[in-house]
């Protein structure tokens, strides 16, 4: 049998349920495991990173599988996937794997094959010069960025994702291809507060944010939206029923209650929230989800807003780079970014990175009190002296 051709292929629009197959689930994983993986399933003893991007896993059977890991743009064409297949056919008997962080993994059974494979991957470049398959993303590095759709496919984004990732990774490229950091640094991008990418536990999270309340399209709102559902969708109860001067049913928004989450827009297209000057990027740092050494924790907002300066986002990229560089220099071995900050203190983090501490960084949402300092244990930095001066405490 072949894949079908023609407008509807083998599907018959006149009888949509004819021969219909449903609920069959995904293909089973076992057939996709390379034979060496099948033979050694559950028998692995240990692994080692031989060089950036190259892993060896050693089995109790004595077999070794070598993995060459490389980055991908996540948003890819079938041409790119076919190229992956060409490489997998040439070196890996037609097997290949993707990681949770959008890396590609090619597995082979000898070191000789590793070198040839690596050379092949590194030699493949786009006409514009960028790598197609940069080898790296292992150990104490900055691995590939998990991200969302942004302007490529989303209706609620406050920034774009693919371009932001490209801009950031171009700048952090050397960290992807090396293992010089104190610990791994996980970077993630989500283009609005909905966080499809669930970036809230990343070492560095870049988050698209809106800063202006929705505009109400009074003309059509009652026809295209279910008003009670929209009212209920607001987490802060800022939306209530209203009438236009002509007597049409519409909504009103208590602007001072709006936290710019865009939930109402998700429920109702007549409440657009995106805005060129309002939208931008917030930076959150210090989250992690591994249970290693310290418990998993959320990322914290350290920059409330930076502009969407397309297509290269220089302000965002430079801030991220600065954070990584200070961390790389200052943290102890094995210390994740969040653990480093907790050791030196947030006041020291702001001092060392030069990131200004603003009122937007102080929580005033629910449970805000949990984040307030209720101790005399703090370090003095310039920011503290400023408060002292303002309070008339020092000259």
């Amino acid at each position: 049998m072949a894949l079908s051709t023609g407008k509807y292929g083998k599907y018959d629009p006149q009888s949509p349920t004819k021969d219909r197959i449903t609920d069959i689930g995904p293909r089973h994983f076992w057939e996709f495991f390379p034979p060496i993986i099948q033979r050694n399933y559950g028998k692995w003893l240990y692994h080692e990173v031989l060089e950036p991007g190259v892993l060896v896993h050693v089995s109790e059977t004595g077999e070794k599988v070598y993995t060459v890991r490389c980055g991908s743009p996540r948003l890819m064409s079938v041409e790119y996937v076919r190229e992956i297949c060409d490489i997998a056919d040439k070196y890996c008997d037609g097997y290949v794997r993707f990681t949770t962080r959008n890396n590609i993994e090619f597995m082979v059974d000898s070191l000789e094959k590793v070198q040839a494979l690596k050379q092949e991957l590194e030699s493949r470049k786009f006409y514009s010069g960028s790598y197609k398959f940069p080898v790296g993303g292992t150990g104490a590095c900055i691995s590939n960025v998990v991200h969302t759709q942004g302007y490529i496919h989303c209706h609620t984004p406050a920034t774009d994702a693919s371009s932001l990732v490209k801009a950031v990774m171009d700048e952090l490229f050397d960290y992807f291809k090396s293992m010089v950091l104190p610990a791994k640094v996980r970077v993630a991008v989500a283009c609005c507060l909905n966080m499809c990418g669930a970036v809230h536990c990343s070492d560095i999270a870049l988050l698209g944010i809106h800063r202006k309340p929705p505009i109400i399209d009074h003309e059509v709102i009652d026809q295209v939206c279910e008003l009670p559902l929209v009212i209920a969708s607001c987490p802060l109860g800022a939306i209530s029923p209203d009438k236009t001067p002509e007597g049409k049913r519409t909504l009103k928004i208590k602007v001072e209650r709006c936290m710019f989450c865009g939930n109402c827009y998700t429920m109702c297209p007549a409440l657009p929230i995106a805005d060129k000057t309002g939208d931008g990027v917030a930076i959150l740092v210090g989250g992690k989800l591994s249970n290693r050494v310290s418990e998993p924790k959320f990322s914290k907002v350290v920059v409330a807003y930076l502009p969407n300066n397309f297509p290269r986002y220089p302000e965002v990229v430079q801030t991220v780079k600065k954070i990584v560089e200070v961390y790389a220099q200052d943290a102890r071995k094995h210390e994740r970014l969040g653990d480093w900050i907790e050791r030196i203190g947030w006041e020291r983090f702001f001092e060392k990175t030069g990131i200004p501490f603003t009122e937007h960084l102080i929580d005033d949402y629910r449970l805000a009190y949990d984040t307030y300092r209720t101790s005399t244990q703090f370090k003095f930095t310039e920011a503290a002296w400023e408060v002292s001066r303002a309070a008339g405490g020092i000259e």
Binding site: P26, F29, V78
Partner: protein
């Protein structure tokens, strides 16, 4: 060792293929260098530069391919990729997205798996007037054979934009951009020819996902792929036909390192663990100390961190300080170990997880919308798991029953637990409370005593009271 729940079609690209070899090589690198898409896209093209793989340079070759394919060799607009890049340029200029809301598109009988998308500037970019996404349920832990991928590529280039994500945030293969009339033909070929179903979206069970597990990791404490597959198959109805208050995610991590991020991202996080002793090879410990084996499996080899210091790098970083050296031997007080795995990751050849393995089940993680971000919380500290995982299914069923009954529209289960309180949730699940479930006991004394907690109940006689106490 493992087998599918039903016989599967074997996938042979040579039998399935749509495009000939000639069609697959229909452009040259020279042509690509010269190629200009139909819209001016200076800002988008800026992203072709730099070392990181450029999605723009990549998309352009698909655009060129489509220019050169015959009319009847693609079922949606030839210029779909060019229009997408054009719309991206316009979005950069406007600082706002140009996509509209979803809608009712989907395949017949399924409430998820397809996300409707429409351009709000279709007159400028007719190729993306309709640009719907299809989510395809990935195989557990994302291993593939090229036959499958190549067939999928042909199908998607023929009936869609040829652009995709490997993979989406939840784990699915994301096919980006097709028209409404192609949804059913794509679904037909996916199911009939590739023996492959769609993933989830909307208020249903989202496509479950898992880490690489025992396929290539020495730390996986259970068969993550097998459980992921079994649960996915068992709950196909919940995955395709939404009747939940909101989305529901289940993820399977083989160990507490959490490579698939279940603790931050899944309503039910199944995390591998063990309850016996960490296995120690004392000779290997010695070898690490003497510098014969590189610590952390070489993960730090890019920088000179000095000689390995077991005290500084392992013993002192142990969160419970339950390990020490005694007469040149490493001693671990396993009773006090919280299985953070740091020591194991630093000395992988000396230390391994125990052999009495199972899972911890944590519930309730989610991104910030609506009530703020949450991490999953401990519900079952330890559970043995064997196929067909009836104990896990029973727990899932109980959680769903309660959530479907009590959950409000668009309320995730973690928010429901917050609203009704953990004690109530435990009561529903029939589980006793345990200190493992909290970071600390409550600090306020506002306890909601129930009538049955107190001898004699709540009903009292005011006259009896007054007999002792004057008004």
């Amino acid at each position: 060792m493992f087998s599918p729940k039903r016989p599967q079609k074997e996938i042979k690209y040579q039998e399935l293929r749509i495009y000939t070899d000639e069609e697959l090589r229909n452009y040259t690198e020279e042509e690509l260098k010269e190629f200009k898409i139909k819209h001016p896209i200076p800002d988008v093209e800026e992203l072709e530069k730099g070392p990181w793989p450029s999605f723009v340079a990549d998309a352009k070759r698909e655009a060129l391919r489509r220019r050169k394919l015959a009319d009847d060799r693609m079922m949606i607009d030839r210029y779909v990729v060019e229009d997408l890049l054009g719309q991206l340029q316009l979005s950069f200029e406007d600082g706002e997205t140009h996509w509209k809301h979803g809608g009712i598109v989907g395949v017949f009988g399924y409430g998820g798996g397809v996300i409707g998308r429409y351009s709000d500037v279709p007159e400028k970019f007719p190729g993306v007037a309709h640009f719907h996404t299809i989510r395809v349920n990935q195989p557990a832990s994302k291993f593939y054979k090229t036959d499958f991928l190549r067939a999928l590529c042909d199908l998607w280039e023929y009936r869609g934009s040829g652009l995709m994500n490997m993979h989406g945030s939840t784990g699915d293969i994301i096919l980006l951009g097709t028209t409404t009339d192609q949804l059913e033909p794509i679904f037909y070929d996916l199911t009939h020819e590739l023996d492959q179903d769609l993933g989830g979206s909307g208020s249903n069970l989202r496509t479950p996902s898992c880490c690489i597990g025992r396929a290539r990791c020495e730390w996986a404490c259970y068969d993550t792929q097998d459980m992921c597959y079994e649960i996915t198959m068992h709950y196909q109805d919940e995955l395709h036909r939404p009747a939940f208050p909101y989305k529901f995610k289940i993820k399977f991590d083989g160990c507490p390192i959490g490579c698939v991020a279940s603790i931050a991202r899944a309503d039910i996080s199944v995390i591998g663990t063990w309850r016996d002793a960490i296995r120690i090879d004392q000779d290997a410990v010695k070898a690490y100390i003497e510098g014969d084996i590189l610590p952390s499996g070489g993960a730090h080899r890019g920088r000179d961190w000095g000689k390995f210091d077991i005290k500084k790098e392992v013993l002192d970083l142990c969160p419970t300080k339950c390990m020490w050296m005694e007469d040149g031997k490493l001693v671990i007080d396993n009773n006090e170990c919280v299985r953070c795995m740091h020591c194991i990751t630093v000395m992988p050849r000396a230390l391994r997880p125990g052999t009495d393995t199972g899972v911890s089940i944590l519930i309730g993680a989610k991104a910030p919308i609506l009530e703020g971000a949450q991490l999953s919380q401990v519900i079952v500290p330890f559970m043995k798991v064997e196929p067909p995982y009836d104990n896990v299914k029973e727990l899932i069923d109980k959680v769903w029953e309660f959530w479907m009954e009590e959950g409000k529209n668009r309320e995730r289960v973690g928010e429901l637990i917050q609203r009704v309180g953990l004690p109530k949730f435990l009561e529903v699940l029939g589980l006793p409370p345990a200190p493992q479930m909290v970071k600390m006991p409550r600090t306020n004394p506002y306890i909601f005593w129930k009538e049955e907690d107190v001898p004699g109940g709540f009903t009292r006689d005011i006259n009896e009271y007054r007999a002792k106490h004057k008004r």
